[in-house]
């Protein structure tokens, strides 16, 4: 069992964070954040939108079970919105679902009512093609109505094919062209440090993405500037569009690479919620070094028909596949999508 308390001064006053963690060797991790002021997301937001997947969601309840329920909700949202959009990236959105859930519903200090809150933590989805999972998280946090999810990729939508800060509340930069997000995250971390803000910056990279040279330029500069307010993930699902990463362009040994570039590296199972939140908490204690969490994941995780299949990298679920997904996730498809859109 671990107790964890911190006191941070923010522009709005003091914030006390108190965490009690019963650690995960027993698979029981419980964590609770008590905030004295704003920045707390209302976890009630969005509840009841999908009839059969309704889960009991208590404000500030960031228990592992609850986070898992959120992850399931986000996965459903992704599948539904991609089916509606008739294009988009299924596999990489699902593999990142648990990480994105942990960030938005557990770790990050953010305020959907005030997306530009100066002391917020920032998240950069460098693997921008996984935008659907971020959109689902933003909608369920209350940045915009979940109804918007069904406008994904449509003309005039606030939800562009890839993340766009100009269109979507809660999106921090424009990504989608692989390899560029980490540099932007570095820039944010530098600026926030200059301004002496308590904010942290999180970035999520794809495993195929680290084949981009700019990632390693950014890896170098983050370590050079000792950006300990930066924590990045690699969603290591093993596949890129053309096939297995090991076949297309081997990136191993990956952890050794990041270590050699001067990063603190944590290896986790990217679908084990306990491991994800522990890694996020540990990253916050690291000084003078950025942290890289290499998360082993399964492409298409959550629904068996998509799992481990690179063919679903950029292919949305068909109506039939969506129905199978509903069945597998134990959700009634009755009245979809009208019920959902209500």
């Amino acid at each position: 069992m671990r107790f964890f308390a911190s006191l941070r001064m923010t522009s709005e006053g003091f914030r006390v964070t108190l965490r009690v963690r019963f650690l995960a060797s027993l698979g029981m991790t419980f964590s609770c954040n008590c905030f004295s002021k704003i920045g707390v997301i209302n976890h009630k937001k969005g509840v009841g939108i999908l009839a059969k997947s309704d889960v009991e969601l208590k404000p500030s309840n960031t228990s592992i079970d609850n986070l898992k329920k959120w992850a399931k909700q986000l996965r459903l949202d992704v599948l539904m919105m991609l089916n509606k959009a008739k294009s988009g990236h299924t596999g990489g959105s699902l593999s990142a679902a648990d990480i994105v859930t942990a960030l938005y519903f557990y770790k990050m200090r953010h305020n959907p009512k005030d997306p530009k809150w100066a002391d917020r933590d920032r998240f950069v989805l460098s693997k921008g093609h996984a935008a659907p999972i971020q959109y689902a998280a933003l909608a369920r946090c209350g940045y915009f109505s979940p109804k918007e999810l069904f406008t994904l990729r449509k003309l005039g939508s606030i939800l562009q094919g890839h993340p766009d800060m100009k269109c979507t509340p809660g999106i921090e930069v424009c990504t989608g062209s692989l390899g560029q997000g980490l540099s932007m995250a570095n820039g944010m971390a530098l600026a926030l440090r200059l301004d002496k803000r308590p904010s942290r910056v999180y970035a999520l990279l794809g495993d195929g993405e680290v084949e981009e040279g700019q990632v390693w330029e950014a890896a170098m500069s983050a370590a050079h500037y000792k950006l300990d307010n930066l924590c990045a993930f690699v969603d290591f699902n093993g596949f890129q569009i053309d096939g297995a990463v090991t076949d297309v362009m081997n990136i191993e040994p990956l952890s050794e690479k990041w270590k050699a570039f001067g990063w603190h590296v944590i290896m986790i199972d990217g679908h084990n919620m306990g491991q994800i939140i522990r890694a996020l908490d540990d990253a916050e204690t690291i000084k003078s070094q950025p942290t890289m969490i290499i998360a082993r994941t399964v492409k298409g995780k959550g629904v068996s028909i998509f799992e481990g299949k690179y063919q679903y990298h950029g292919v949305p679920p068909s109506d039939e596949e969506l129905k199978k997904s509903f069945d597998e996730l134990g959700v009634s498809a009755d009245g979809w999508p009208e019920k959902v859109l209500q």
């Binding site: 766009d164 800060m165 100009k166 921090e172 930069v173 424009c174 990504t175 989608g176 062209s177 390899g179 560029q180 997000g181 980490l182 540099s183 932007m184 995250a185 570095n186 820039g187 944010m188 971390a189 530098l190 600026a191 926030l192 200059l194 301004d195 040279g213 700019q214 330029e217 950014a218 170098m220 500069s221 050079h224 500037y225």
Partner: protein, 329 residues
């Protein structure tokens, strides 16, 4: 009249003025941060670096990362100036500039030194002759080429007041000062630096002083040539171009840049759409540069006052033959 200063011999490198102006602006604006890619001694950002080390970030030889980092700094409210040679700022990091900076319209100022062939001895690898073309192709991007040290100082001061991405090209070599000390740059506005009625030369950068020399030479032959300093290439001053076309009936553009996609084509598109008149583009004729002294290269690539003079005579001739044909009809 600014054109009269053509006889002045005062020479100033625009990159020097950039470095000094930036360091001065750093005093009044705490939000200004500066990034360089291991060329701070050449781009002159080292003056700022010395004065404000905590707000200077040397990114090493990694232009792509520099542009992305600048975007991140701007996303948190800083005013980043990112500098390197024009070939790398526009070429190596083009897509980072497009995706990370211009698309979200972030407030990043890219001030690229060593534009054009006056880079000299380093040769083609370091001579940016396409930077204006590829930067002006990007939506949201403002593109500026100051003609001398006086204008550079004003440009740097003015772009800080504008919230959005800007590309400014400065140069390695020392250029003659053609503008008066009290000159004030206005973004998007060209400036008539010499009056004339027989033809107009529209120039940018160093070529403004060459255009003024050409106009002085042509005056001896009884021709009154208007010269415009078109320092903002994008958004271009359409009104002034149309006025020049209507009033003088012939236009020559001059740029230390490829004739493809640069000032010449920017002017030509306005002329073609609004008021077609004979035109000639003086610039680098779709060729790469090479090693040599700046002065030698300017002669070799046909960017000297005598080349402009020849082009002006050519367009005036065309313009007159069109008038004659119109009369005969």
């Amino acid at each position: 009249m600014a054109g009269e200063s053509v006889t002045m011999t005062k020479l100033i490198a625009t990159r020097d003025v950039y470095g000094e102006t930036l360091a001065r602006l750093g005093e009044s604006s705490q939000e200004i941060v500066v990034l360089d890619a291991d060329l701070s001694g050449s781009t002159k950002t080292n003056i700022f670096a010395k004065k404000f080390p905590e707000r200077f970030f040397n990114m090493g030889v990694s232009e792509a990362d520099m542009m992305g980092t600048a975007a991140g700094l701007a996303a948190v409210g800083k005013i980043p100036f990112a500098s390197t040679f024009a070939i790398f700022a526009s070429g190596r990091a083009w897509e980072q500039v497009r995706q990370s900076i211009a698309y979200p319209k972030l407030n990043v100022k890219i001030v690229a030194s060593h534009g054009g062939i006056t880079v000299g001895e380093d040769g083609a690898s370091h001579q940016a002759i396409e930077d204006i073309a590829i930067m002006r192709a990007i939506p949201n991007m403002t593109v500026i080429v100051p003609c001398d040290g006086v204008e550079t100082r004003s440009v740097i001061q003015e772009i800080v007041k504008y919230n959005g991405p800007v590309y400014v090209r400065v140069a390695r070599g020392k250029f003659p000062v053609v503008l008066p000390e009290d000159y004030k740059f206005t973004m998007g506005k060209g400036m008539v630096v010499r009056d004339g009625k027989d033809a107009t030369i529209i120039a940018m950068g160093l070529m403004v002083s060459h255009a003024l020399e050409a106009a002085a030479m042509l005056e001896k032959e009884g021709l009154q040539i208007q010269v415009i300093n078109m320092s903002t290439i994008k958004p271009i001053d359409r009104e002034l171009i149309v006025k020049a076309a209507k009033e003088t009936g012939a236009i020559v553009t001059c740029e230390e840049h490829s004739i493809i996609g640069g000032l010449g084509e920017a002017v030509a598109s306005v002329v073609a759409e609004e008021c077609p008149v004979p035109m000639k583009r003086v610039g680098i004729q779709d060729k790469f540069g090479q090693s040599g002294l700046a002065e030698e290269l300017l002669v070799h690539y046909g960017l000297m006052p005598k080349d402009i003079e020849k082009a002006v005579k050519n367009v005036i001739e065309k313009s007159q033959s069109i008038r004659v044909k119109t009369l005969l009809l």
